[in-house]
């Protein structure tokens, strides 16, 4: 419990307010002193230690942009907590850092990805694409010399210690080409068998990791065209050369066996032959509005996109309307003091709300299963009603299950709002001769709507992105086979984004981000309109 200030002391203190404030500042500095200061220094020390480690790693990786950002954030954080002024910043910074990175930045990053061809086959840089193209088409050179090799291990990564036919010793791994070494241990025949800092794999280790070792390809030099060494058995390595020859100056990739020349296409992010065939993988490039053109310009995508958008609005609106109607009805029914056992009903009706939503959707998916589910087998006597596989029945099922999930919330909210309406209003209206229905429609309902309308907007916004229900109940299905993307009749926009980006073998992050941008725009429009209507923002002070 708190001690309240004695009012008679106030006047004296107002007179000496300035002095008091000064004194309290000194007192704070002195009394809260040493322990708080130590804690502060300790916490900042931990943060700084992590930052320094991060900076060190970034320096080694030569990532100058991120290095600069981390350095800047570290300096700002230290300044904020060590200077005496700027108290609000001390309280806001921890949350703001997370907010800026994982909520604000990612939105901007989505915007950037929407203008790239990021996705399966285009998820890396051009250098990576060149390397992986050359590696994937490598063949053993028929008359390759035999290189004696010893497999080394360091921090879980394998390296080759190679003694070439001339007796020169070098070390390399798939990420760094062979470099000559002088301090290797050698056996009697001059073959290198160990290197300081590395562990030499014995025969049993090699056998145990046979597949991983056979897959290693160590480049001979910085130029990928020089080929790389591979060892089928862990003791002798051979030179492997690629069929593809990369010409960096001309920007071409030539297939040595067929003679086809693939030319680099910077707008598409891949090597393309004259007949239009391209080499996979390509690399990530900015493609301008191509993703938006694909979304709105291709018939097989535009059609589904429009129907999905309409269904998203219909679903969100119907969800709010049905749950609110049932919740309000129940709130009126159970808002009668004469009725006994209201608490029992209330607790049972809250259960659907307390049950985790993703599980509810999975349980209902089982109950609505056409062949074996409870609804068809028991309630409809074995009829095979396609609750989740017929387009319109699936939509109905989703609204129905969401009614089950959502009515308790509306019931609680409406009960609270009804009870906060003063009883005198009803009495006065009754005295004036109003019928019960008139009392409800003209007095209670308008007052109720004032207090619950922000919650209805929030509920609409929530259901607009109610991914779990859709994905777990119908998985968006039944699938629209004519569509150019993986999308079904009950998919909403956010589940469509998820499917395009993460489901199936062909992931298209660029197109998915373009859809995300569309959701952002729609949500922003809905928010602007609804906030204008309710004037909720004017209450901010």
């Amino acid at each position: 419990m708190m001690t309240t200030p004695a009012p008679e002391r106030d006047r004296a203190q107002i007179v000496a307010a300035k002095k008091q404030r000064q004194a309290s500042r000194i007192a704070e500095a002195a009394s809260a002193g040493i322990k708080v200061l130590l804690l502060k220094v300790l916490l900042l020390g931990i943060v700084d230690a992590i930052s320094v480690y991060a900076l060190f790693v970034l320096f080694i990786k030569q990532d100058s942009l991120v290095f600069g950002l981390v350095l800047l954030v570290t300096i700002v954080v230290n300044v904020i907590y060590f200077r005496a002024k700027g108290l609000p910043a001390k309280y806001l910074t921890p949350g703001l850092i997370f907010l800026l990175i994982f909520q604000i930045f990612v939105v901007g990053y989505s915007g950037y990805i929407a203008f790239t061809n990021y996705g399966t086959g285009h998820n890396s840089t051009k250098d990576d694409a060149v390397n992986s193209l050359i590696l994937s088409s490598q063949e053993r050179v028929p008359d390759s010399a035999t290189y004696a090799v010893t497999v080394l291990e360091q921090a879980g990564a394998y390296s080759f210690l190679v003694t070439d036919p001339d007796g020169e010793i070098s070390v390399g791994n798939p990420d760094s080409p062979l470099t000559e070494v002088t301090d290797a241990e050698t056996d009697a025949s001059g073959q290198a068998i160990g290197l300081p800092g590395y562990t030499t794999l014995n025969f049993a280790d090699i056998v145990a990791n046979q597949e991983a070792i056979a897959a290693l390809a160590v480049p001979v030099s910085d130029d990928p065209n020089d080929g790389s060494l591979r060892t089928p058995d862990g003791s002798a390595a051979y030179l492997y050369l690629s069929d593809l020859v990369y010409d960096e100056a001309a920007g071409t990739m030539t297939d040595a066996s067929t003679g086809v020349v693939y030319t680099e296409d910077p707008t598409q992010g891949s090597f393309v032959a004259e007949d239009g065939a391209d080499l996979q993988p390509g690399w990530k490039v900015e493609v301008g509005l191509a993703n938006f053109a694909k979304a709105f310009g291709t018939d097989s995508i535009r059609g589904p996109l429009i129907s999905v958008t309409l269904w998203t609005f219909a679903f969100a609106f119907l969800s709010v309307a049905t749950t609110f109607a049932l919740g309000l009805f129940l709130a009126i029914v159970f808002n009668d003091l004469r009725m006994r056992g209201r608490n029992v009903y209330r607790v049972v009706m809250i259960l659907p709300y307390a049950f985790p939503a993703f599980l509810s959707a999975l349980v209902w998916a089982g109950m609505l299963n056409p062949q074996f589910g409870f609804i068809n087998q028991v309630l409809f006597g074995g009829a095979e009603i396609p609750w989740l596989t017929n387009e319109w029945l699936a939509k109905f099922s989703i609204i129905f299950v969401n009614l089950w999930l959502g009515f308790p919330y509306m019931f609680l909210v409406c009960t609270g709002a009804l009870q906060s309406i003063p009883g005198e209003l009803q009495e006065a209206a009754t005295v004036d001769g109003a019928r019960p229905w008139q009392v409800f429609r003209l007095i209670k309902l308008p007052l109720l709507l004032v207090s619950v309308s922000p919650l209805l907007i929030a509920s609409f916004a929530f259901n607009f992105n109610n991914f779990n229900l859709i994905y777990m109940l119908t998985n968006g299905g039944p699938r629209d086979v004519t569509a150019g993307v993986n999308v079904g009749a009950t998919d909403i926009l956010i589940s469509m984004v998820y499917k395009v980006a993460f489901v199936g073998a062909n992931r298209d992050y660029g197109l998915a981000s373009a859809f995300s941008i569309l959701i952002f725009v729609l949500v922003a429009l809905v928010s602007i309109i609804s906030f204008r209507q309710t004037k909720a923002l004017e209450e901010l002070n």
């Binding site: 990053y109 074996f372 929030a458």
Partner: protein
């Protein structure tokens, strides 16, 4: 409301008697409400009883689950913890761990921000409050692709906090900490009289001491509500968890159970049902325990 008809006295002597029970009158006044209540109780509770009965039917499939409570045996619960492919116990632990840390972090970060918005006046305060309201409209899952690619980039440099790590997932969730519930807390902080702060300040307490030892205790109910809503939200979260956590041992219940269901739904239904019952227990227990706070918090403006 419903009009009550006053029955004329049936007896001719004038001894005042208690009205005899009149079914019609009772039904018009409150009886029909019980009828509605009974229908709603069946509607609300049936799916939950269904999954409970299915979980008590060992080796049961979707079709045997229709015989409600025809057999009662805990065998499925034993099977659940011995599945070769699905590490249910690990999922359970992960969910509690991730949910617990996330909700504690959310409450802490949110309370810090709400305190400064409620008690301090500074440049950008109104804009900051406006931002908190607007950020609520744009849930993190809209940027799921960018979150995935950001964590993918982080794992190239710091594998310990990147893709397929629980720390990475918790950090992503904490990004939503300020957005979702700070405004709720801000409203509650405003109801604590500022004179309490001033009294403490005059007694020589610093801002940190006022916040940690006085204010945080007075706003405990809202901290409980926000913590619970955050825990429930994290437990239910599927989209981000499913793309960040790849190794089965690191996944949460939402991701694990969904994959379990999509692999063998109808054949192994009793095991899934057992998993669902156990998964729902902590959330439902917390919910019913903190019920009165939640109802207060809900009407103040938050949604599930």
């Amino acid at each position: 409301m419903a009009t009550t008809t006053i029955a004329a006295p049936a007896t001719t002597d004038y001894i005042p008697v208690k009205h005899p029970f009149n079914f019609g009158r009772w039904f018009r006044a409150t009886g029909w409400r019980h009828l509605v209540g009974a229908v709603m109780v069946v509607f609300s509770a049936f799916p939950l009883l269904y999954v409970l009965s299915a979980s008590l039917h060992p080796g049961g499939t979707l079709i045997t689950a229709n015989g409600l409570f025809s057999e009662v045996d805990l065998g499925s619960y034993v099977t659940l913890f011995n599945l070769p492919q699905q590490p249910y116990a690990a999922w359970y632990g992960n969910t509690l761990l991730i949910g617990g840390i996330t909700s504690a972090g959310t409450v802490f970060l949110g309370a810090l921000a709400a305190y400064s918005f409620s008690r301090m006046r500074f440049v950008g305060r109104r804009a900051g409050l406006l931002m908190l309201v607007l950020v609520q409209m744009f849930p993190q899952l809209l940027a799921v692709v960018a979150i995935f690619l950001l964590l993918n980039g982080i794992s190239d440099i710091f594998p310990a906090i990147g893709l397929d790590t629980q720390i990475g997932l918790i950090m992503v969730y904490l990004g939503g900490a300020l957005g979702v519930n700070t405004y709720l807390m801000y409203g509650f902080f405003n109801t604590i009289p500022a004179s309490i702060d001033e009294a403490a300040k005059l007694d020589g307490a610093g801002h940190a001491r006022i916040f940690f030892t006085i204010i945080l205790r007075l706003v405990a109910p809202i901290l409980a509500v926000v913590g619970l809503l955050s825990f429930v939200g994290t437990t239910n979260e599927f989209v981000i968890a499913s793309i960040v956590l790849i190794t089965p041992e690191k996944q949460t219940l939402a991701v694990g159970l969904y994959q379990f269901v999509s692999q063998e739904f109808s054949s192994n239904y009793s095991v899934f049902a057992a998993g669902a019952v156990l998964a729902a227990l902590p959330v439902m227990a917390l919910f019913l325990w903190l019920q009165k706070y939640i109802v207060g918090g809900l009407t103040a403006g938050s949604v599930k």
